[in-house]
């Protein structure tokens, strides 16, 4: 059987930006988990209907964020160095 191997932990933390603010993540961390660890459970932008990750299995879509012009589930998006993402805004909430 072939399978992806577990990412090795490196000393260097990964840097990423969410809604314009910089955060760090461990290798192998998903965007939603890295933000949660940083004390950011809310993934929608301020002033919109406040929502955050809910099912942690990629199904409920509550954690979707804009990444490279597309919606992706933050609980399935592994952070890479320099990643940038934005939460739902009031005008595209729902």
């Amino acid at each position: 059987m072939t399978s992806a191997s577990m990412p090795k932990r490196t000393d260097a933390d990964l840097r990423f930006r969410f809604n314009g603010t910089e955060y760090s993540a461990r290798p192998g961390e998903t965007l939603a988990a890295a933000l949660l660890r940083a004390g950011v459970p809310m993934l929608s932008e301020p002033a919109s209907d406040a929502r955050g990750a809910f099912c942690w299995m990629g199904w409920c879509q509550e954690c979707r964020v804009r990444h490279e012009g597309r919606w992706v589930e933050a609980c399935r998006l592994f952070v890479h160095d320099g990643l940038e993402a934005h939460g739902r805004r009031a005008d595209d909430a729902g």
Binding site: G69, R70, W71, D92, G94
Partner: protein, 365 residues
């Protein structure tokens, strides 16, 4: 035998409901028997396009009246008159477009040809590879999924009884009226209208009438909410793409690409082999769609007879029995042809003729 109802309507889609409302206005007591839920067949799952540019020449007058009625139904059915463009991407399609739209214009549709410059100005999200386009200001859409709620409310207001999840298993006639067998109950009525869409054939057969009904399995897809990409209803010269972005940002993609299955075997199924080119054609017309996510695809059975014109009138050889349905583009003309059908049953003078039910169908087998 006494009957509570003057007429039973079998099939609670747009046409059956619209006929019932007209009959009630005229003083009759109709009742609707629907095997599923009101307007959950083709009426409620089609793409909702109201475009004169894809209507058949001979049905144009009916479609124009249909548009007026949809407009009067308004917000309750999500009606929007957005205007619509039909696109051609190569010379062959441009010729096709010119030929077809000229004939439709002669039939009364206010269709004009527009330059690609004008198209770009008004719809910058449309691909620059368009070589020719036509425009119709009357085009728009309604939200087909709201038709059930709309007609349910209308029927209630008019005091018309409707019975959902009430499939008619058998029809017996004694020469004066009809006994409908619905599960364990029997309903006797002096008149009968069959308006069961893709399921019309087997019902007509219960009256001994052979109607060659076929069903297209049309695929419709919807994306998740997107920023504004385009404002009008978009079509393709061949008629094989319809596209609109709803006020909530979702984009509805249709065009009659064929799924699998048949009315007899239950639900239709989405075919990945036709879904892919349908979606590709949509992206070709509006490139920014490529960044969207597809939320849902489904199919609806669009009934037709071999000439693709409506079947609307009396069932030949069966007194007091009528049938209605089987037209390509039935969503647009449904509310109007239902009114005409009602007038016909009420014995009124018709604003426009119905469609001969006993005609020979070429290619029928």
């Amino acid at each position: 035998m006494n009957s509570k109802y003057d007429i039973a309507i079998v099939g609670g889609g747009i046409m059956g409901c619209a006929t019932a409302l007209r009959l009630a206005e005229g003083g009759m007591k109709p009742a609707i028997f629907e095997k599923g839920d009101l307007c959950q067949g083709a009426s409620g799952v089609n793409a909702g396009t109201l475009s004169l540019q894809i209507k058949r020449v001979r049905l144009m007058e009916y479609a124009l009246r249909g548009h007026e009625i949809w407009e009067s139904m308004g917000d309750a059915v999500g009606f929007r008159k957005t205007g619509g463009y039909t696109l051609a991407f190569n010379g062959r399609e441009a010729e096709l477009l010119e030929h077809r739209q000229n004939l439709k214009r002669e039939a009364g549709a206010p269709i004009e040809f527009v330059s690609t410059d004008d198209l770009r100005k008004s719809e910058p999200g449309i691909a620059h590879s368009v070589v020719a386009a036509s425009y119709c200001a009357e085009d728009g859409y309604a939200n087909s999924s709201l038709t059930g709620q709309y007609y349910r409310a209308q029927l209630k207001a008019a005091g018309i009884p409707y019975f959902e999840r009430s499939a008619v298993d058998a029809i017996e006639t004694d020469g004066k009226g009809f006994t409908l067998k619905i599960a364990d109950t029997a309903v006797y009525v002096p008149r009968l209208l069959l308006a069961a869409g893709a399921w019309l054939g087997p019902l007509a057969a219960k009256l001994g009438f052979d109607l060659p009904v076929r069903a297209r399995v049309n695929t419709v897809s919807v994306t998740e909410r997107m920023p504004p990409l385009f404002a009008t209803v978009i079509g393709h010269a061949t008629g094989l793409l319809t596209m609109k972005q709803k006020p909530n940002g979702t984009v509805l993609i249709g065009g009659g690409w064929q799924g699998l299955g048949s009315p007899e075997t239950g639900r239709g199924r989405v075919n990945a082999e036709t879904l892919a080119p349908n979606v590709a054609l949509a992206c070709h017309a509006v490139p920014a769609l490529k960044t969207a996510r597809l939320l849902r695809s489904w199919t609806g059975f669009e009934a037709n007879v071999p000439d693709f014109y409506p079947v609307a009138g009396a069932v030949p050889g069966v007194e007091n029995a009528f049938m209605l349905g089987c037209v390509r583009g039935g969503f647009t003309i449904g509310p109007y042809i239902g009114q005409l059908m009602g007038d016909y049953i009420l014995g009124r003078t018709l604003e426009r003729p119905l469609f001969e039910t006993g005609r020979k169908f070429e290619g029928a087998n």
